[in-house]
């Protein structure tokens, strides 16, 4: 028996489990782990037909939050569950994935390594700087947002993005979304043909959660869907200003955390914990 068979078996099993988890999540039945936190009241949940939060926010008041995603490559198995959750919650067409999972160089022992790549929500984002109409912009808390009503579809941001995480709607996406489970419905409206779209860190979940007193990163209902869906715990999310948030703890424990193309000075908000334990030792 090779180890690949076992991994495939595990992947299938976990995929099934997590699909069920996504389904449950979308049907809004509180999970046991959310039972301790305040339960979302039905009327505070944003219905799908209302536009997602695109208020530009007040830049004069610094946000108390510094949202960050940490991706632990030693835990990621490349199962694409995060993508399934993303497709379902954000109603992305089958040919567009807001993040992608790539296989990268294996470890020294030959273990396979994967790298999920969502939008980096750069602090100094090239796309925000060059969008001719300001359709992509920094929200008050620094997240990079898209204004789908303003985008003219010039695709300049696609050229400017060093991470290639921006996707153009080449065709209209109509009909039911095969990635949305029958029991749930997406949280944001579908984007029209001819605009560029990208990962939003599920701001609708963050904002809704904050409004009802939840803590993004701890409470699944206030955390990006991909983070919630990852059954391996490879994705963490939270507020870097909060020393007890999962991301602060992870980055404290792992000084070898790195970001993609840091040398470009874009200041990505996504940190990676390398899969290679050797790196960890050399760094400590």
């Amino acid at each position: 028996m090779s180890s690949i068979d076992r991994r495939d078996f595990l992947k299938l099993g976990l995929a099934a489990t997590a699909t069920a988890a996504v389904g449950i999540g979308m049907s809004r039945i509180p999970l046991p782990m959310t039972a301790t936190s305040a339960e979302p009241e039905p009327d505070t949940i944003i219905p799908a037909d209302e536009p997602a939060v695109i208020a530009r926010g007040d830049h004069d008041q610094p946000s108390p939050h510094h949202w960050v995603m940490v991706i632990d490559q030693s835990k990621c198995v490349g199962c694409d569950l995060c993508l399934a959750a993303c497709h379902a919650y954000n109603d992305t067409p089958p040919n567009i994935s807001w993040s992608r999972v790539e296989e990268v160089e294996p470890t020294a022992e030959g273990r396979r390594v994967f790298r999920p790549t969502p939008c980096m929500h750069c602090e100094d984002a090239p796309c925000v700087e060059i969008c001719p109409v300001g359709a992509t912009y920094h929200r008050y808390d620094g997240l990079v947002m898209m204004d789908y009503e303003r985008c003219i579809g010039c695709r300049y941001c696609q050229l400017s993005c060093p991470y290639g995480v921006r996707h153009f709607n080449w065709e209209a996406f109509t009909g039911p979304n095969p990635d949305v489970p029958a029991a749930g419905h997406p949280e944001v409206p579908r984007r029209p043909r001819g605009v560029v779209e990208k990962c939003s860190f599920c701001v609708q979940r963050i904002d809704r959660g904050l409004a009802i007193g939840l803590t993004p990163g701890f409470d699944p209902d206030a955390t990006p869907a991909c983070v919630v869906a990852c059954t391996y715990g490879a994705r963490l999310f939270g507020d870097l200003n909060d020393p007890d948030s999962p991301v602060s703890i992870a980055l404290r424990q792992r000084p070898d955390a790195y970001r993609l193309k840091e040398e470009l000075g874009t200041g990505p908000r996504v940190y990676y914990l390398p899969a290679e334990p050797a790196l960890e030792e050399s760094a400590s």
């Binding site: 296989e103 160089e105 300001g134 579809g153 080449w170």
Partner: protein, 430 residues
């Protein structure tokens, strides 16, 4: 029935004999291309950009190259106007008139192409309303919009001199003609706006930190600006000389055009030095994505375009042909050389646009090993681009034939004697 019969006789007696003349055949041919282009454009508008071969990896393709080239080759309008009116070279004022018309056509080509290229053509006006002053593309949008208005004002007197307008609406014709008074001021405004957006078009690429081969803000801005001036002057001279050979309606001052061609010769030599310098300043050591892009440009897929069209045919050969008096004095050679300069500028725009996109950097397994992608325009893209270019050729043909845009025999004083038809003014050079 009678209507159809009358139309049939009209075609038999008027249209068919007319088609024996090559000029009408040429115009009919262009109109057919335009009709096909309009059909293809409708397909694009209805079905969306999915019908193109553009992808998320190569989102800017043939259309962008066409409008970059059209804007570059339209630069003769501002440069020759600036020489004629700001440097007070009076003998170039009639040439500036030709240049302004060609520029107007060039910018309208670019605007049509852009309208097709954006995903939401219904929001074309967003750039003027929603400002992001940090974006070079916003700057280009504003300046192109404003400069197009300048060109319209400059073209108005030419339209005013159109025979039907002059005969039926003499007062309107006079009004339009009097706009000519503005020309020196418009030349100044045009110089400013063009300098801004021609260089910003280079900066559009040069600012992108994500694509190392482009990320040279100053060299990109300067070479876009200067190559546009050279290409634009070459195209205006080329069109004037070719038209003068084809029709007596185009009257040129050979001495002036020869001087202009000689200037283009020096300018293209300067451009060659600049381009060579730019190339030589690129790293010899391996630099991710930049080295691969350089490979594509100099030895890979774009090598023929680069060495053949850009360097040899676009710069070296025309420089030799235009600077060596022996060659330049042969008119055919001079015309060929000027056409080659324009071809070289088009090739430069095409290569520059593609070279950064063909290397996919960091989207690849293993991440930092660059991967190559490919792009070939789809039939729809080619048909629409051909249609738009056919419009440009038809507009220039119309201008030469009916608007007397090439009439360099007449020295226009500012303000012009508006109501005197240009054809009446005797040309001292024929």
């Amino acid at each position: 029935m009678t209507l159809i019969r009358r139309a049939a006789t009209l075609i038999r007696h008027n249209a068919l004999p007319a088609l024996r003349q090559p000029i009408y055949r040429w115009m009919l041919f262009l109109m057919c291309l335009m009709a096909v282009g309009v059909g293809a454009a409708l397909v694009v508008f209805i079905k969306g950009l999915g019908v193109t071969n553009l992808t998320d990896l190569v989102p800017w393709g043939l259309w962008i190259s066409v409008d970059l080239s059209a804007i570059a080759l339209a630069a003769g309008a501002f440069s020759i106007s600036a020489i004629a009116y700001l440097l007070r070279r009076k003998e170039l004022q009639p040439v500036a008139r030709t240049a302004v018309y060609v520029g107007f056509v060039g910018y309208s080509i670019a605007m049509m192409m852009l309208l097709l290229d954006i995903g939401r053509p219904d929001r074309f006006w967003h750039g003027f309303v929603f400002w992001n002053i940090h974006s070079p593309l916003w700057e280009v949008t504003m300046c192109v919009g404003l400069y197009f208005s300048v060109l319209m004002l400059e073209v108005m007197p030419i339209l005013g001199h159109w025979q039907p307008v002059e005969h039926r609406f003499p007062r309107l014709s006079h009004r339009l003609g009097s706009l000519h008074k503005l020309t020196p001021y418009l030349a100044f405004v045009g110089l400013c706006l063009s300098t801004l957006h021609q260089s910003s078009l280079g900066l559009t690429y040069g600012k992108l930190v994500a694509r190392p081969i482009w990320y040279r803000p100053w060299p990109m801005a300067i070479s876009f600006y200067l190559s546009a001036i050279v290409g634009g002057m070459a195209l205006v001279t080329f069109i004037s000389l070719v038209s003068a050979r084809l029709t007596p309606r185009a009257r040129v001052n050979k001495v002036t055009l020869d001087k202009l061609a000689y200037t283009v010769g020096w300018a293209v030599l300067f451009l060659l030095v600049l381009r060579w310098w730019d190339l030589m300043s690129m790293p010899v050591d391996y630099e991710p994505a930049k080295s691969e892009a350089l490979y594509i440009l100099t030895r890979g897929r774009l090598a023929f375009n680069f060495w053949g069209l850009e360097i040899v045919l676009g710069m070296v050969l025309p420089a030799v042909l235009l600077l060596v008096g022996h060659f330049r004095r042969i008119e055919r050679v001079r015309i060929l050389a000027l056409a080659l300069v324009a071809v070289g500028v088009v090739a430069y725009r095409w290569d520059t646009n593609l070279v950064g996109q063909l290397v996919v950097f960091g989207q690849v397994p293993g991440s930092d090993v660059p991967l190559f992608t490919n792009y070939t325009p789809s039939l729809i893209e080619i048909l629409t681009a051909t249609g738009v270019i056919a419009y440009g050729l038809l507009a220039v043909t119309f201008g030469v034939r009916y608007l007397n845009v090439i009439d360099h025999g007449e020295v226009v004083e500012a303000p012009a004697k508006a109501s005197v038809p240009a054809a009446v003014v005797p040309s001292s050079y024929r």
